[in-house]
């Protein structure tokens, strides 16, 4: 079946709802273009899922939002955050990433204690007060639904935790920075179903305070947790709509075929 990749449906948001917006984002790995004209707007305090087959450009897109692709890919276009283009070379990327955090596909706790995993970056930011640090550790672990499991072992190595716990620690570590936006790159793909369910629960709670953008290859997951869904195909944004609409009434034939499992 032939699809026209020019057939698109992109939802537009109100100015004041936007937490993040991309304009004409084109991403290249050397000669090869991995994303074509990404124009997307993400709503504050919502979960937006990015779905699509592997190689569709969804992860590349996500990793460009806080410039984790720097040095790997060439990102052209603008990423608007609080009215400024954070894709500009003038931006202090280190400062920016404090507000736009990221959780990765594979859990990557530092080989330090659970406590230090969370406090390490905080201390670097000048928070030295022990009570304050302990308080942040507790709240972020609670938010990540890990507190009850580890509260007695905070000085144990983070590597002693199970994969699911490690991933929740990574989420706790990210939200301890009090970011605005949290980017999650298939955070549950390496985990078992029980851990996945726990992470999903955590995410639903987090959206009260954070804007979440999550890449997932699992369409059920996207439909369970997200408010908006973006469908990527071969580096093109094909459809962006409310999750409900995408899954029940897709506007584009390609989306419909992907969701019904006709390909990919």
């Amino acid at each position: 079946m032939e699809y026209n990749l020019k057939d698109k449906y992109i939802l537009q948001l109100n100015e004041k709802e936007k937490a993040l917006e991309t304009r004409d984002l084109n991403i290249f790995y050397g000669e090869k273009q991995a994303l074509f004209d990404g124009n997307l707007q993400f709503e504050r305090y919502k979960i937006t899922s990015l779905i699509g087959a592997s190689g569709s450009g969804k992860s590349t897109f996500l990793r460009s939002l806080n410039r984790m692709n720097e040095g790997v890919a060439d990102v052209k276009g603008s990423i608007l955050y609080r009215g400024i283009d954070i894709n500009s070379p003038k931006i202090n990327v280190y400062e920016m990433r404090k507000y736009i955090g990221m959780v990765f596909q594979r859990p990557n706790p530092f080989s330090k204690s659970i406590y230090e995993n969370i406090t390490f970056a905080l201390k670097e930011n000048g928070i030295k007060d022990k009570e304050k640090l302990a308080e942040i550790v507790e709240t972020s672990l609670k938010q990540a639904a890990l507190w009850d499991e580890v509260k007695d072992d905070l000085n144990k190595s983070a590597l002693a935790l199970s994969g699911g716990q490690q991933q929740r620690l990574c989420i706790a570590r990210a939200i301890a920075m009090k970011p605005d936006i949290l980017l999650l790159d298939e955070p549950a793909s390496a985990l078992d179903p029980i851990s996945t369910a726990k992470i999903e629960e955590t995410l639903l709670e987090l959206k009260e305070k954070y804007t979440l953008i999550i890449v997932t290859h699992n369409m059920q997951q996207a439909s369970r947790i997200s408010d908006y869904t973006v469908f990527f195909h071969l580096g093109n944004v094909i459809e962006y709509n409310k999750t409900k609409n995408i899954f029940t009434n897709p506007k584009i034939k390609l989306t419909e075929d992907y969701i019904s499992g006709n390909f990919g």
């Binding site: 280190y94 990765f104 990557n108 080989s111 570590r173």
Partner: protein, 296 residues
């Protein structure tokens, strides 16, 4: 068919024979060195200075010189190798300049050590007039050690998953902070193993030293620890023959009556020291690695 089977059996036998011979060569070498050398090792041998013309000399000064030179060499070469290793592992872009840098390091590592020694002789000993000295020796050994240590550190850093760097960066840490505080501690077991192994190589090196640290071991006063004093063992400007150079020197122009016994004893001491380096590198590396990952 029978022919190929026969051929196969002969070939297998030859391969096993060769492997056995290699083991025998090592056993023979170690045996020869230790059996002919160990009987000459005594406490007196280890703590007496060497004598040029008469029997009964020891190797105390040479032992001190070897270790002192090793420590100085590591003090100079480790920071540079660490910087270069971090650069190659985490900062270097994939381009022509990087491959040129790699090529240059490769070339440095394949230069004959006698050429490196002669260069330091030319520049430091003669032109800068610092004379045959521990300092010149340490510089020569540094040049000899830099490429190997750099490569080892680069590989140890690269063995730490890049996810760790990403984890740090995503928290708003600078790349430098993440590398020094998160990646280096994880790479430490590999780095330490590499440093000790390089120490073994440096310890046994002689060709780079004969015209830099010199071939004489003037007596030093082990009670004088003022680094600026000429008789102090710590003085950087005194000539300092090492164990390895001592062996060479005795064998090429030694005139003391017990030359053969002394070189056998010195060889045994040198080999034992290097065996200790090798074993401790293996042990310490494994130990640190287990400690670091014990939680897994």
């Amino acid at each position: 068919m029978k022919n190929t089977k026969f051929q196969n059996n002969v070939a297998m036998a030859i391969i096993k024979l060769i492997a056995a011979m290699v083991v025998l060569i090592l056993v023979f070498l170690l045996g020869k060195i230790l059996i002919s050398g160990v009987p000459h090792i005594s406490w007196k041998f280890l703590v007496t200075p060497s004598k040029a013309f008469t029997a009964g000399g020891g190797i105390s000064v040479q032992i001190f010189n070897s270790f002192y030179l090793l420590i100085l060499t590591l003090l100079i070469s480790f920071p540079i190798s660490l910087g270069a290793g971090i650069y190659l592992a985490k900062y270097a872009a994939k381009n022509k300049i990087t491959s040129l840098i790699r090529m240059v390091i490769e070339i440095l590592s394949s230069l004959p050590s006698v050429v490196v020694g002669l260069f330091v002789f030319l520049v430091c000993v003669v032109q800068m007039q610092i004379g045959f000295s521990i300092l010149a020796g340490a510089i020569a050994l540094t040049f000899f050690n830099l490429p190997l240590l750099t490569r080892n550190i680069e590989e140890s850093i690269k063995a730490v998953p890049n996810l760790q760097l990403e984890g740090g960066l995503a928290l708003g840490l600078s790349k430098w902070k993440t590398i020094t505080k998160i990646i280096l501690p994880e790479a430490l077991p590999g780095i330490i193993t590499g440093v000790i192994l390089s120490a073994g190589r440096v310890f046994g090196e002689a060709a780079a030293l004969i015209y830099t640290a010199g071939q004489s071991a003037p007596a030093v006063d082990f009670t004088n620890w003022n680094i600026f004093d000429e008789t102090s063992p710590l003085n950087l400007m005194r000539p300092a023959e090492t164990l390895a150079v001592h062996i060479w020197k005795i064998n090429s122009e030694g005139i003391m009556p017990d030359a053969n016994a002394i070189s056998a004893g010195t060889s045994a001491v040198l080999i034992i020291a290097i065996l200790i380096f090798n074993l401790s590198a293996r042990y310490l590396g494994n130990y640190l690695y287990r400690k670091l990952t014990s939680a897994r």
